[in-house]
Amino acid sequence: MEFSEAEFMIVQTARLLEDGRLVFIGYGMPQIAAILAQRLNAPDMVQVYEFGAIGSQPETPFVRFTMGGPRNCAHSLAWTNMNTIFACAQLGMVDLGVLGATQVDMFGNVNSTILGKDFHHPTKRFPGAGGANEVLSYCWKTIVVIMHEPRRFVPRVDFISSPGFLDGSPGARERAGLPRGTGPYRVVTSKALYGFDEATRRMKLLGVRDGLTVEAVVKEMEFEPLVADPMPTLESPTAEELRILREEIDPSGVVIGRRAG
């Protein structure tokens, strides 16, 4: 069955969401992945959002822009506020975070602020760290969801908006003062799935989309990741996953629309 790049990313992300856990959901694709996961593999996952909704079960069809709106915060267990929910994450209550990203580097640092070396005269300005800095700082594990394009996978980001494993040296996060035992966990792209090597903290290719070779995937990156051996092929979206996405969650295709290239 054919599927779009967005559908592939959403499905891979959804499969990583763990049942019975508190999961901090970021804007956009993570929202859709969370709805899908809750209908399949993680019915008792507790979604939390930065405007303080806890345990919300968003209404479908999904409507964009609705992080803090009634459709996204529907069927919650509690409505708190931004300070309370980030405090819960800082306290160590939030198991998993899921974020969309603009650019990521080999140590999982995320840039959503600028391109260019001069902060005061950037070649390109992006929206800023947002709540992603809190998610990557506080959640025990963080999943980053990103389109697979060379300019998005760089050896070092121009600007660390939100912290990955920083310079990759042992204990770098803890030395900076970040909570112990936290950091990026998986990177989901339109072509592949990555993790991070325990010892070197370098990004490691863990699986590729069916039909793609490791070479084809790595060619679309500006650094060489570590590579698992043997290399698993990621299971393509199933008919049931695609049916739920297309019929129930996003029938107008605003998020899942883009076709695989």
Binding site: M67, R71, A74, P122, G177
Partner: protein, 321 residues
């Protein structure tokens, strides 16, 4: 405490004693009627050069009618707390009102990015959470708030935060300075004429915004009796003495929504996205400068039919109203 690392971003240090004296001298304790129209509220309580904060987003319960009035009155040199703003910071920049912004997440659009790339707007980097923590510190009357966000990031280097060694654990900790905005803008579902206000639902920090701000302007969907307030005091989000002005502004968040009352206007946002690419001047003229007030904006630019649709679309009521 030794400072291990200091951000180089521009911000104003608040003296908590000066803030206390402001609260003593300038905030009325008496129950006085604070209802006025938005033109008077902005004229009296927003000055050129002010630091302006708001609650909570462009899509949901944001103070859109006040932002339009600030632009209409051509206020200048404001510093705006652009935490998760899609629209407000962009409108204010296009309207020539801004000197700088504190960035949490400043929008998905293109216009503001271009203004910054061209060096026409000063920027201080923060995060959504730390901008709120700065308000919490301001609201508590303490000079800073300790946080484990920002650490290790370049965001910190271009913020006003400092990293110190925690005197208790010895671990590095980031301190973010208190912010006491000159003006806080909060849209609420209901309030009385004194400013006792209700804004149920998820949110950012409506109470802390009102507490921290030296002047607080409320816009409200409905004005209700103080008797009603007293019958259900658990619903009061913001007590009156924090509030300087109450502006009656039904549909005051448009094109955003007020939860349980009307939905956001997605068609208008599409028009907005297009305007961001083609130039903001026409948008500003059409929706701000060519109308005299929020009433005229609703009447001549949005229209009853659209407003009725948005109200009809708000079918999730429970917990909000």
């Amino acid at each position: 405490m030794e400072v291990l690392l200091a951000g180089q971003g521009e911000f104003r240090v608040e003296d908590p004693d000066a803030v206390r004296e402001h609260m003593r001298d300038r905030k009325a304790r008496a129950l006085v009627n604070k209802v006025m129209d938005e033109a008077e509220a902005v004229r009296r309580f927003v000055a050129d050069g002010d630091y302006v904060s708001f609650d909570f987003s462009s899509f949901t319960r944001g103070p859109a009618s006040l932002i339009r009035e600030i632009i209409r009155q051509r206020k200048r040199d404001l510093w705006y707390a652009a935490k998760f703003t899609l629209m407000e910071a962009t409108l204010l920049a296009a309207g020539g009102c801004l000197r700088g912004i504190d960035v949490g997440f400043m929008g998905l659009g293109h216009y503001l990015g271009r203004v910054i790339e061209e060096g026409r707007l000063k920027v201080c980097e923060w995060t959504n959470g730390t901008l709120n923590q700065r308000l919490v510190a301001g609201a508590m009357g303490v000079p800073f708030f300790p946080t484990r966000a920002l650490l290790g990031s370049d965001t910190l280097k271009y913020s006003g935060a400092k990293v110190v060694e925690d005197p208790f654990t010895g671990k590095p900790i980031a301190l973010v300075p208190a912010v006491n905005p000159d003006v806080g803008l909060v849209h609420v579902h209901q309030c009385d004429i004194y400013g006792n206000a209700r804004c149920p639902g998820p949110g950012a920090a409506p109470l802390e915004t009102a507490m921290a701000s030296k002047k607080t302007i409320l816009t409200t969907e409905e004005i209700i009796s103080t008797d009603d307030i007293r019958k259900a005091p658990g619903k009061t989000t913001i007590p009156y003495f924090l509030v300087d002005a109450v502006v009656y502004a039904p549909f005051g968040c448009h094109p955003g929504g007020t939860p349980g009352m009307y939905e956001m206007d997605i068609a208008h946002f599409q028009e907005w996205f297009a305007a961001e690419r083609t130039g903001m001047d026409r948008y500003l003229e059409q929706y701000i400068h060519s109308v005299a007030s929020h009433t005229e904006y609703l009447e001549k630019r949005v229209g009853v039919a659209r407003l009725m649709e948005l109200k009809r679309a708000a079918q999730i009521k429970d917990g909000y109203v």
